[in-house]
């Protein structure tokens, strides 16, 4: 009897661990690394939140080389990880090759669309969130000139800039928007020194609010803005706490929510095209103790009204990537 009991216990434990191993989800960070205070870190935070709430563990890897993109995908898929979430558009090519080989594994790619039956492609309406912070920038600016500093010059970042410029002009039709990009290669995501130089250049042109959509480069932008006593706007994660009282707000791109949802849905998740916008809390602006003194009641009312209009579809913000052009800004 006792033998039987322990046997059954053992098999039950085995079944449990097998189940856990099968369902264990995986997260793959891009070459920028896990702790970039921005995009990858947001993804990690989502996974961490899921892990803390459910008590389950997840697999993760920070890539070292290009060849590892496909390798990591295949290894995780073969080891039974499900779903497998990857942060960044650069995975599109590898995922397109791999997804069909593992029809029973679900994949989630963030910021890019991969058209496969077992892939969920999560894209964000960054232009909507940027529109809101653009309105706030125009309201907070005394000089009537505001800046935008992008990371790598790709359509995705132009989408940020275009939404921002539309928001600025909506709040103040006479305002001037200066837009600069840090570079044309992935190195532009992690160049705080150049971000700092660009900020100084924009200040000399009269800008007194700058919006950084540049990953790790933004750390330099926010630092210089605080040093030069002007306002800045953070991106992706809530960056208000980096320089309390100096960061007007942050354009929140809830990458963490996308990862969290994918992990929560587990192997049964719905695949296809998923848009995270203002309507479903995918993007937004950050308001907390650090920036509360900077945001007047008028400003907040105005932004919230615009947010409601965009969410209901009454107000349409032009998406740069829909036609590769921007009515409010020339690059």
């Amino acid at each position: 009897m006792s033998l039987m009991k322990s046997l059954m216990g053992a098999s039950a434990a085995l079944a449990l661990t097998a189940g856990a191993a099968l369902a264990e989800p995986a997260l793959i960070f891009d070459l920028g690394g896990k702790f970039d205070k921005s995009f990858n870190e947001a993804a990690f935070n989502g996974a961490k939140r899921w892990s803390e709430e459910t008590g389950n563990s997840f697999r993760e890897i920070e890539l070292q080389s290009e060849a590892q993109r496909e390798q990591a995908l295949r290894r995780f898929a073969e080891a039974g990880s499900n779903p497998i979430v990857m942060a960044g558009f650069a995975f599109a090519d590898a995922l397109g090759q791999v997804a069909a080989d593992y029809p029973d594994t679900k994949f989630t790619i963030i910021d890019m669309v991969v058209d496969q039956p077992n892939v969920r492609s999560v894209v964000f309406n960054e232009h909507e969130g940027s529109y809101l912070v653009g309105m706030m920038a125009a309201e907070a600016s005394k000089s009537g000139t505001v800046g935008f500093i992008g990371g790598m010059d790709i359509p995705l970042i132009r989408k940020f800039a275009c939404g921002y410029a539309q928001g600025v002009l909506a709040a103040n039709p006479d305002a001037k928007v200066i837009a600069n990009m840090t570079g044309t290669t992935p190195a532009a995501w992690n160049d705080p020194v150049k971000g700092s130089e660009l900020t100084k250049a924009q200040i000399s042109q009269g800008a007194d609010v700058v919006y950084a959509a540049a990953g790790g480069t933004g750390v330099g932008v926010l630092q210089t803005a605080a040093d030069e006593d002007i306002l800045s706007i953070g991106v992706d994660s809530n960056q208000n706490h980096l320089h309390p009282g100096k960061v007007l707000t942050s354009m929140m791109k809830r990458v963490d929510n996308a990862v969290y949802e994918a992990f929560t849905d587990g192997p049964d998740m719905e695949t296809g095209f998923s848009v995270m916008g203002l309507a479903n809390g995918g993007v937004g602006y950050a308001l907390d103790d650090n920036n509360a003194p900077l945001v007047s009641a008028d400003m907040q009312a105005m932004v919230d009204e615009a947010a409601a209009k965009i969410a209901s579809g009454e107000l349409k913000v032009h998406d740069y990537m829909s036609d590769d052009s921007c009515p409010a800004l020339t690059f």
Binding site: E62, E66, A67, Q68, E70, Q71, F89, D93, T185, P186
Partner: protein, 364 residues
Amino acid sequence: MDKMPKWADVVLIPLISLVLAAILSALVILAIGEDPVAAVKMMVTGALGSTYGWGYTLYYATNFLFTGLAVAVAFHARMFNIGGEGQAMLGGLGVALVCLYIPWPHWTIALVFAALGAALFGAAWAAIPAYLQAKRGSHIVITTIMFNFIAAAVLNYVLVNVLKPAGAMDPATARFAETVHLPSLHELLAPFGIAFSKSAPANVSLLVAVAACFAVWLLIWRTRLGYEIRAYGHSEPGALYAGISPVKIIMISMLISGGLAGMMAINNVMGEAERLVLNSTEGAGFIGIAVALMGRNHPFGVFLAAILFGFLYQGGAELALWTSIPRELIVVIQALVILFTGALDNMVRMPLEKLFLALRKEKV
């Protein structure tokens, strides 16, 4: 005679260096609270325990073979070519142009011309520093390393402004056509009834690399040119006295070196990615220096050292996948091996030489 026996120089010193590096790595792993024995086990099974592991190990090894041979050939003429990285980048550009703009009927023809294109671009990139060294005396170490940066900038410009497909976000070329797909080891071995992992990127360019090893051996030790290269490397005045032109030797050895580094691109660009991405070389040009040093500039030594570094790369990737050992630590382990086999060579050599000397005296 104060020399060690040959076997001690070729086998014993690298082996002791490796053991020292392994011990230090084990201490580092212990210090962050992981089990070094389990880590080594995971590296060995992950890199050598399956055809999948071998596939990746051999893929990395192919890269290091080309760059290691490149450094070794230049070294025989006492040229320290540390521009393998830039030459391999330009080689990638050569491969991409050949594969993108010419409709090849079959991969065999494409491979020949892609290898030629890669070698041509790599050699061209080495030619300018070589010319500056030969004619103006500008030091090759300085010029080749500066040319790495210029190569990165050139590749960046060409990818972003010329080769990137419209609307794409990645600074990379379009995918090459199906007809230039190089057969992987899986496809090569299948007709012989050997099951090799399908997902591993090792491909037919491994055979090209091994052939290159043999060709370099022939060149250095079995041809008149190789003799001249070695003579020049041993003593410039001596070579001059024997009627060997230094300009000719510098140019030729650097062109061969650049060509070999460039040919790495048939493996990583044509064989693996099948498109040209911005950071396709990923430091293989610099690893080549360590590989050549460890291999004592002999093609067979380079072959063994390349396999070792392939093992370290693939084993490191497995560690990153299945443990919480951070990727920076894996770089530390790789760096320790380079440090001990390359930079700290004399630390092992000197005591060992003394030891052998003492033993010999006793015998006498």
